[in-house]
């Protein structure tokens, strides 16, 4: 707009008012802006690369000390003895994530089916905002709630202190509901309504329509949703730190303390140095690769679905 007086590269456009013609100044401005926008979009790529490089560079020395094999297959994580094997943490993450999925995925998928197939518009206008707000509750508040409310209940149930995989899984189950429920509902909604009507017209009940027609049709979407929920559970940090007990040992009971890949980083980072700190960055690299792998998996599943 400022370069009106610069027009003249192609006076023809102004004189004849011909469409599609623009002055050289306009052309350059448009091209420049286009490239600036492209650079902004590439920032996202640069950000991922930057994270990988900086966390990777700090974590890379684990290959020499304690050694990649000792790091990946070691069964002891102890800063006092300088042992940094990740298996106890991997087992902690596995147990907690599996528990969260077992409890949370059915709840979330059930909620999604309820929202898309059963709830009246009025009911939907209560449940859907609740799901969205659940996604907004800070994880430290979930952790705090777990610490003061869930932990004592679990302590009574298991006869322990209540810090352990069961408490963590219960909290995580609620935390992954929004991720899985929202995406599952999207998948169910994208099933063509004609398919539903055909099923009802054949005399099928609501439930028969849901599990014989809708769930098979939305299968890939539901699997995607569950994978992303799993990613959320693996990566969740603060809520787990507050209730898991944070002892890097193998799973030995629902009420016995465990530590996960994420929680161990938070606990150790405040005092770690040298090899210990390097090992923590090594954990971060593993977490990064897991989350990137899960995203890749979801994307290739989506591509598979589009092809079929």
């Amino acid at each position: 707009m400022t370069n009106k007086q610069e027009h003249g590269g192609s006076g023809l456009a102004q004189e004849t008012g011909e469409l599609k013609m623009m002055s050289r100044a306009t052309y350059f401005r448009e091209a420049l802006l286009r490239n600036i926008f492209m650079l902004c979009a590439i920032v996202a790529v640069a950000a991922v690369a930057l994270i990988f490089v900086f966390v990777g560079v700090r974590g890379w020395p684990v290959v020499d000390d304690p050694g990649i094999v000792a790091f990946l297959t070691g069964t002891e994580w102890s800063s006092t003895y300088g042992e940094f094997g990740i298996l106890p943490l991997v087992s902690g993450t596995l147990v907690v994530t599996l528990g969260a999925l077992l409890l949370g995925a059915p709840l979330a998928i059930g909620t999604a089916v309820f929202l898309s197939e059963i709830a009246s518009p009025r009911m939907r206008s209560i449940v859907r905002p609740a799901v969205e707000m659940l996604a907004g509750v800070p994880s430290v508040v979930f952790g705090f709630f777990g610490l003061v409310i869930i932990r004592p209940v679990v302590a009574d149930l298991t006869g322990s202190m209540g810090f352990g995989p069961l408490t963590a899984a219960l909290i995580l189950a609620v935390m992954i509901v929004p991720t899985i429920a929202t995406l599952t509902e999207d998948a169910l909604r994208s099933v063509a309504p004609g398919i539903r009507h055909a099923s009802y017209a054949m005399g099928a009940t609501t439930w028969q329509t849901i599990y014989k027609v809708l769930i098979p049709a939305a299968k890939i979407g539901i699997i995607d949703a569950t994978i992303l929920g799993m990613g959320r559970a693996i990566g969740e940090t603060m809520a787990v730190v507050m209730v898991a007990g944070n002892a890097p040992q193998f799973f030995s009971g629902l009420g016995e303390p465990v530590a996960t890949l994420t929680s161990q980083i938070v606990i150790d980072m405040s005092y770690a140095s040298g090899t210990h700190r390097t090992a923590l960055f090594g954990l971060a690299v593993i977490l990064f690769l897991i989350s990137m792998g899960l995203v890749g998996l979801v994307r290739s599943l989506a591509r598979l679905e589009r092809r079929s």
Partner: protein, 275 residues
Amino acid sequence: MSKWANRVAVTLLWICGLLTVGALAAVIVYVFIRGVGQLNLDFILSAPRGVNAEGGIGPTIVATIYVTGLAMLIVTPIAVLAAVYLAEYAVQGKLVTVIRFAADTLSSVPSIVMGLFGFAFFVEAMDLGFSVLSGALALSFLMLPIVMRTTEEAIRAVPRYIRWGSYGLGASKWQTVSKIVLPSAMPRILTGLILAMGRAVGETAVVIFTMGQAINLPISPLDSGRSMTVHLYTLAMEGINMDAAYGTALLLMIMVLLFNLSARWLARRKGRFEE
């Protein structure tokens, strides 16, 4: 038989829906009941005192708003223009696939990894130290994919024919985007920005390793500070002064819910050209 199975199944699905609402209600009600007695002007304004963190949480509120606002300023132009590129300019191809994969990855990177990255890059490599600026830069990485996605959806929701009208009058691409498309997508773009801010306010693992844990009132962007989330974490884990912990949790919930509600309110307002 099938009627009976249907009834059981539908009841179970109802229970799922109600359990989800119940979980949210339980958290909100419990935090409210235990925290509401704590809330008064002194608690909100004054600073924590002594080893038991008596007094208020004023500086942590300032630090939280400071770091979130700064992150917003950093991320908004980049994320919005990136979304403009994806929605208006880009043609489907390798570059777009890579950008989308990167954005998806970025939004699924665990926040603790983001925290360690922020520590290694902003705090140490760029020598910004534990500071509000480091925290804001790290948070902007977390917010980038959220704002990008919601803005792109907002732009795509603007009807095609509005653009044709603009082109038909001889407007250039940028004139169309800046004067027609962006203004009419504005309510939805703002919704995305507010949701991202709510996310940043509730974030702990990123700020704990980039902004530090020292309780002081941050003035310059290079000062360190302790966010409300970090304060709540510290109080709860050390078991000191649980009353202040409940008060902090309640204030956090109120802030996050306000962000959420205002985003919902904005989302219901239609853009200029929507039917």
